[in-house]
Symmetry: C2
Subunit: 150 residues, 2 copies
């Protein structure tokens, strides 16, 4: 098996990333894989912000995973910095291969390198398999996650 | 009653903010109100990041509330930008006065002004009063919030 590489996402990765976002029970109704224009605009915003780390996992030239890590300085917990993980997706052919663990471990290690004291994420209440996965990595489901669409 | 003002936090607000962070069942064990040094360092990090909006609510010269709003560009949901609200605190003398609603409404309005499509926050599972408060404002508790201390 070829080595896995985890590197910053570029515009060339957008078709593969958006296909993964759309290939999902929740994402299927929320994404537009046939029109990448809004994603190109969004990628430019992400790349312009040094506290955003949008990465892809690549093996043998195939983009097979993605996540976004955001660094947030804060006052609470004695001025702790935290990271937030969003948009975790693993290609459907690659689930169960340990790729998710590798990608999350990258996010945890990078959070530590960036000086964070805490890593957090939210997961839709319906994604029970994902919850078990995060708990195996040491995450604790101590919070409720609230969303308000504008 | 004097008008409420919501404005960016400065170093002069730190004693009042940290006192509010510490005057809380969870914060009591996590904060150091007698040593503001780590908070001063953290405030410098927050102020240096244009996507962080740490504000205080002030009435009649008293700092009576605080929250931090973070703007996060992303790819999912057709390149949506979201905001995250952290560190919401209302002075114990001011609870039940509608100040929390005013402060959250400021965060929602500012999120819209900043071009966000979604506002999200997490709340410790034990804070059941806060959950009802967020639901009254239109937030939906659709997610679980996971944390990993580093």
């Amino acid at each position: 098996m070829t080595d896995l590489s985890i590197r910053p996402a570029t515009a060339d990765d957008l078709p593969a990333i958006v296909a993964m976002l759309a290939d999902d029970p929740l994402g299927a109704t929320r994404e537009s894989p046939n029109d990448l224009t809004p994603y190109r605009t969004a990628l430019a915003r992400i790349v312009a912000d040094p506290h955003q780390h949008l990465v892809v996992a690549v093996r043998a030239g195939r983009t097979i995973g993605t996540l976004q890590l955001t660094l947030i300085p804060g006052l609470s917990r004695k001025g702790s910095t935290r990271t937030i993980i969003e948009g975790v997706r693993i290609h459907s052919d690659e689930r169960g291969t340990g790729l998710g663990t590798d990608l999350l471990q990258w996010a945890i290690d990078t959070s530590r390198d960036l000086g964070a004291d805490l890593v957090q994420l939210t997961s839709d209440a319906t994604r029970t398999d994902a919850h078990r996965f995060y708990e195996r990595l040491g995450f604790v489901a101590s919070h409720l996650g609230f969303k308000l669409a504008l």
